[in-house]
Symmetry: C2
Subunit: 266 residues, 2 copies
């Protein structure tokens, strides 16, 4: 069965898309079969790989409306790496589907009817806790949360976890929050160190509680701020094809290794 | 009449809130009477000033539902600086109001019925082109666009301007895009220089066209990346009260001066 992972944070610009692209690519390079799903109407993951989001080709929108399946819509990016692209109409889909019974479970239904031919599916979500993100939560086994160590990071995390709790209770009891990934980390600043400390305390407090994030971890690997990560999308490639000796590549490689090491963990 | 300015960019985390808070404060310190409006359900502008977004006190939500007026809901932050706070329920408002006739014009109606007692109103918008942002566009005289000089900045700008064009045509003919403000600018990177160059070409091409952004400018002042700007919200203050000798303070002061110098311009 596909291990389905939702990559979520309603705060804008914290590294969700960059993480899905580069962690996904790193896992593919380690021989895991990975399917990326772009669930953001702004289609940045799709654009990251140099694909135009509304070429008339199949997209996640067509998957949601039942027009096509994930495997039919998936574009091959590399060995072991596929992408179900987004499309400009996805915002229209969010409106259209909002009247449907069980509207948060459409993606989950489609993925169950026709699972992607992959070991791992990574879903990139928009900066909101709206219907598309709720669909990702309903469909996911695990949630990974990219986080920028700035003020309000923990408040946003609290709000996100409330939503996870609701989805877990009403829709998807197997949902669990696996971890937080610190992104765009500025290790020389006191702000980052303070937020990291607060985050670790928060996570420690959750241990043993009867909540879907009781076992959440803060990844030891932090993704440092590195302009190479901001540059590589303009070439339609990941950091590994753009600047393999950069800190960005080193950090996402380390993240993939840690991800796999933790993979067996409950 | 209040000069109403919508601060918009559907891309997440590009500096909208930081700009509204600090440009607003700088204009207030120069004797302009400024009213800030937090139109984001994530309420980061409200939290920036150390105000809890759901204290039972009046908010922009109550303004939208007609429960109260902007002046009644406004909280005094400093001489010449008020804030109409957001509240967690604002996301519910977006749903509730989406069934209403002329649903994009609710804020515009309320601001016309009971204008804020200020010279300048700055509206902070969420990272989307959804109903709340459309309300800001319908209510505004001008649009200011904070922009991070990264890949996809111009594509996002293009999409935003399409939306401006629609609102201008169907709802608010006086709407114009006044300018782009480069935020979180990393002046040592080639990426930033390339994006800035593309942006200037884009803006030059628009001159003389029959579009609401024909006169848009790229502000000469760029806001440099400065961790002090990320730190000051955790003290509930703007950069001027936190670190007045920082680059962040210098840049937002310069931006305010440029804003006022341009103020008379068409
Ligand atoms: N570690 C990093 N160092 C430098 N730049 C980065 C890093 N991670 C991401 N970026 C850049 O910062 C910007 C925001 O990152 P990204 O788009 O991945 O965030 P996001 O959370 O997906 O944003 P949104 O909420 O808009 O979907 C992008 O231009 C990206 O290229
Ligand atoms: N010039 C800057 N230098 C360093 N950090 C900054 C700068 N401007 C903003 N920040 C920080 O970066 C983060 C994102 O900025 P901000 O919240 O203002 O963006 P936004 O566009 O309002 O985001 P959203 O799309 O989520 O509303 C915040 O933590 C903020 O404190
Ligand atoms: Mg993204
Ligand atoms: Mg904001």
């Amino acid at each position: 069965a596909v291990r389905t992972i939702a990559v979520i944070n309603q705060k804008g610009g914290v590294g969700k898309t960059t993480t899905v692209a580069n962690l996904g690519a790193a896992l593919g390079r380690r021989g895991r079969d990975v399917c990326l799903i772009d669930l953001d109407p702004q289609a940045h993951l799709t654009l990251h790989f140099g694909i135009e989001p509304d070429m008339g080709a199949s997209s996640i929108y067509d998957v949601l409306t039942g027009e096509t399946t994930p495997n039919q819509a998936a574009r091959k990016l590399a060995d072991n790496l596929h992408l179900v692209p987004s499309v400009i109409d996805l915002a229209a889909a969010e409106m259209e589907l909002s009247g449907t019974v069980g509207r948060e479970q459409i993606l989950s239904d489609k993925l169950r009817d026709a699972p992607p031919a992959a070991e791992i599916a990574l879903i990139d979500c928009p900066p909101s806790l709206g219907l598309l993100t709720l669909n990702a939560l309903a469909a996911a086994d695990e949630v990974y949360i990219p986080l920028q160590a700035h003020f309000l990071a923990l408040q946003g995390l609290g709000k996100l976890l409330e939503t996870v709790a609701l989805v877990s209770r009403r829709i998807n009891p197997r949902l669990r929050v696996a971890g937080v990934i610190l992104c765009m980390y500025e290790s020389t600043t006191r702000l980052a160190a303070e937020v990291l400390e607060d985050l670790k305390a928060f996570v420690a407090d959750a241990r043993g509680a009867d909540v879907p994030w009781a076992d959440m971890a803060v990844f030891d690997t932090v993704i440092r701020r590195n302009v190479k990560l901001a540059e590589c999308p303009s070439y339609g490639v990941t950091i590994f094809d753009y600047e393999p000796r950069s800190h960005g590549a080193a950090d996402y490689n380390a993240l993939a290794d840690e991800f796999l090491a933790r993979a067996g963990a409950p």
